[in-house]
């Protein structure tokens, strides 16, 4: 791997069938940096939560496109998950552990909390009726350690 930026962008229909594909596509891109199994699992889990949110909350019964932009630069992974769905009225509230606007779907309200635990930075930008962007940043601590 060279040290310069490597970028990929992914766009797909907001269907739950596409969740595992999206998670694996991001994993295959990040795998170039040879993270630990644990780091890759953390990234996949965080991406899954954000993608599920875009599909379930952003679009709900409608079908739209979800996009993921992933940038690798040195040992830092940046992932943005975008939807053009309903957006979030109150971002502070949405971030609260256990808060969910859809208890009817048996959501746990732990999605953002999980993301915060598994990556270094979680930024949410959203506008009601315009859509939501979740930006995840993670530094791979393992990268400098040697093979064994």
């Amino acid at each position: 791997m060279s040290a310069t930026r490597n970028v990929m962008r992914l766009e797909f229909s907001s269907r739950s069938e596409n969740e595992s594909f999206a998670r694996v596509a991001v994993a295959a891109f990040v795998a170039q940096l040879d993270p630990t199994v644990e780091e890759l699992t953390e990234i996949k889990t965080a991406v899954s939560e954000a993608v599920t949110n875009a599909i379930i909350h952003g679009y709900g019964d409608r079908e739209g496109m979800v996009s993921i932009t992933c940038t690798l630069e040195g040992d830092v992974v940046e992932i943005m998950i975008d939807d053009q769905g309903v957006g979030i009225e109150d971002i502070e509230l949405a971030r609260q552990p256990m808060y969910t606007s859809r208890p009817d779907l048996e959501r746990s309200g732990m999605g953002f909390t999980i993301m915060e635990n598994f990556v270094d930075k979680v930024e949410i930008t959203s506008r009601p009726r315009q859509g939501t962007r979740v930006r995840l940043v993670k530094r791979l601590k393992s990268r400098t350690t040697s093979e064994h």
Partner: protein
């Protein structure tokens, strides 16, 4: 499969490249056994079920860490 899970759980510092290599070997073995048992090429869902893995994860593990140089080898393997 228990073996793979133990391997993956053992150590928080296992590199993906190494774990993928290990798991890919299990996948190849399962694929060959399944093909023999079924008397035909297995479908990806059948193989995934046999391994207790997500189908997309099977795809990832079979291929993700393969070097570009070996593209042509996949044809004849």
């Amino acid at each position: 499969i228990g073996e793979i899970q133990r391997f993956l759980r053992d150590d928080g510092t296992v590199k993906v490249s190494r774990s993928v290599k290990e798991t890919a070997r299990h996948i190849r073995r399962a694929r060959d056994e399944l093909a023999k048992r079924l008397g035909r090429q297995p479908h990806i869902n059948e193989l995934a079920e046999e391994l207790g893995m997500d189908p997309a994860e099977v795809v990832f593990t079979q291929d993700a860490m393969r070097a570009p140089a070996s593209i042509h080898e996949t044809v004849f393997e």
